[in-house]
Amino acid sequence: MVAVTYVLLFISLYFEVFLLVSFLERQLSKKTVTPPGSQTFPTVAVVVPCYNEEKGIAGTLNSLLALDYPKDKLEILVVDDGSSDKTLELAREFSTDARIRVFSKENGGKHTAMNYALAHTDAELIGCLDADSTVEPHALRHIAAVFENPRVSAVTPGIHAKETKNLLQHMQKVEYRLSIFNRFMLSALGSAFITPGPFSIFRASVIRELGGWKHGHSTEDMEMALRMQMAGHLIANCPSATVYTSTPPTFRKLFKQRVRWTYGFLRNAADYRHMVGSRRYGNLGLFILPTALLSIVTAIYFFVRIMMEFAQQSFDEYTRISVTRSLPFPHFDIFYFNTSAMWVLVWLAVGLVLVLISAGSFIGTGSKKVPAGTPLFMLFYCFLVPLWLATALFRATFKLGVRWR
């Protein structure tokens, strides 16, 4: 048991250190990029697939119309996927703008909406913006510049949490900063295995060549990225292309969303298992995918261990109170502060996570300052994550499926 704990701790720490070392190496190498002034503007189709999105559709379309991009090079395709609310009605109000085209089809899932749009456009680049997300005006211009590298087939943006109102959303904001770092580094290692729904842009020719989007166990963005990696395409990340996406306001909604994401990752990883551990896929096959899979087991393992220890301590305390019939007398003595090697390592790992959050903030905002919700995130979020990881692992093992909503 102790050996397993140390092995898992070592791998977790190694992963964090590896990403940090790669980040520092990249910083020191100082690569040159195309100056924004000299860029060309390829034609772009931004697809807004929507199913019952009456709350967010207007905000999403307004932000797209505000994009700083030549009007004749941009088209916005709203694909209503059989909504039963006023989504279609609201979208049609925007069709007075020449850039917006609104389509309606029977409900078939996000991948079918994307393929529908792909069939109705001849733009060079095609991307998606979920109807719960908004973009900054410069986002598309920044992403389009990355496509001047002919080897790039997809570009992911820097995704930030939108409107953090409650504590749960504040914690998610921190998580998104961490994701900014991870997404950036995975692209820097040529190992991105997700092209997220909010504003990932693709070369339309590559998508056609690969056969369009698939259901991908309700995570078509993950399936597409893995298929692109398998075919040897480059997926870049442009953190300065700022996108804001809604975060679930309740634990129930967050839990459902994350179970879907993790379930999709596990099932897609199983579908593309030949990539896991394969040298042919470089960092992705040798290190990133195996570690990402192992991290799920690690998180569940540590959660179970901590819970067991907590249960044992609670039981001991209960026993103490029941036999002495008196409440514990609180006292603090530094002598009893746990300084076992395991705890020292846990504290170091926590410290490294803080560094990664700061690095994510720096990459995404230019400031190393971590979000205000960071202490909450560090204290509580680690106890929430294993809940959906374990549920997703269970559902994926028995192929029970997941639903979008």
Partner: protein, 233 residues
């Protein structure tokens, strides 16, 4: 904000090796730090034991010179029961942590000897000075063969808090210390733990606070005296 990240997925072995070296260094540091802190704790215990040992020697010497000193001088300098119990708690914690086991066992043996020494000395002093301290000798096992030992430990800790003058000595029944084994032999304490030796009589099985208070009715007087002393301060 940062420039875009674009790269081939080719593995760079140098990065893997550098990360491995750093992670190994972090691990080594963690183990070194943990060992250092454990060593510091052992040092703390050793210092506390030295202090208590000196105290015992001091009382012993005073006792030998009793003819020239009053009993009040001796009892005023007696080793406080709380010092011994605090040391016992620290040793139990170190034992549970599992680090530096041989050193901790050595310290525990020394602690047991000090307890026996204190017990014998306090018995002699109380006889000669007409004091009436109450002694409780507690025998336990932490080999996993004593289901109620943890509970008995809780009860005695609570009892010591309730009656600070009570002198409770706890002994690991299985500890290989000849003086302890002699004590067990003299008082004929059976390996039926937890066991309490009160006024020369052994009580086996879990004894709750009311049970002990029933065995030792003088505890009530002790508490009353303590309350009076506190209220007159």
């Amino acid at each position: 904000m940062m420039d875009p990240a674009i790269n081939e997925r080719t593995a760079r072995w140098r990065t893997y090796l550098v990360a491995l070296a750093i992670t190994a260094l972090i691990f080594a540091t963690a183990f070194y730090a943990s060992n250092y802190f454990n060593q510091r704790r052992v040092e703390d215990i050793r210092t506390a034991q030295d202090d208590i040992s000196t105290d015992i020697l001091n009382i012993e010497t005073q006792f030998d010179l009793l003819q020239e000193h009053s009993c009040s001088d001796v009892s005023a300098n007696a080793v406080l029961p709380s010092s011994l119990s605090s040391l016992g708690s620290q040793l139990s914690y170190m034992e549970a942590q599992g680090g530096n086991a041989p050193e901790v066992t050595r310290l525990k043996s020394l602690y047991s000897l000090m307890e026996i020494k204190d017990y014998l000395l306090m018995k002699q002093i109380s006889q000669n000075c007409s004091l009436k301290p109450i002694f409780v000798l507690y025998f336990y096992s932490n080999k996993g063969d004593c289901a109620d030992c943890q509970k008995q430990g809780y009860v005695l800790t609570a009892l010591a808090q309730k009656y600070p003058q009570l002198r409770i000595y706890s002994f690991d029944y299985n500890l290989n210390v000849s003086a302890l084994q002699t004590l067990i032999g003299i008082d004929n304490v059976k390996n039926d733990l937890p066991a309490l030796l009160i006024n020369g009589k052994a009580y086996y099985g879990l004894q709750m606070i009311p049970d002990i208070e029933k065995i030792l009715p003088q505890l009530a007087t002790m508490k009353a005296a303590s309350s009076t002393a506190t209220s007159t301060k």
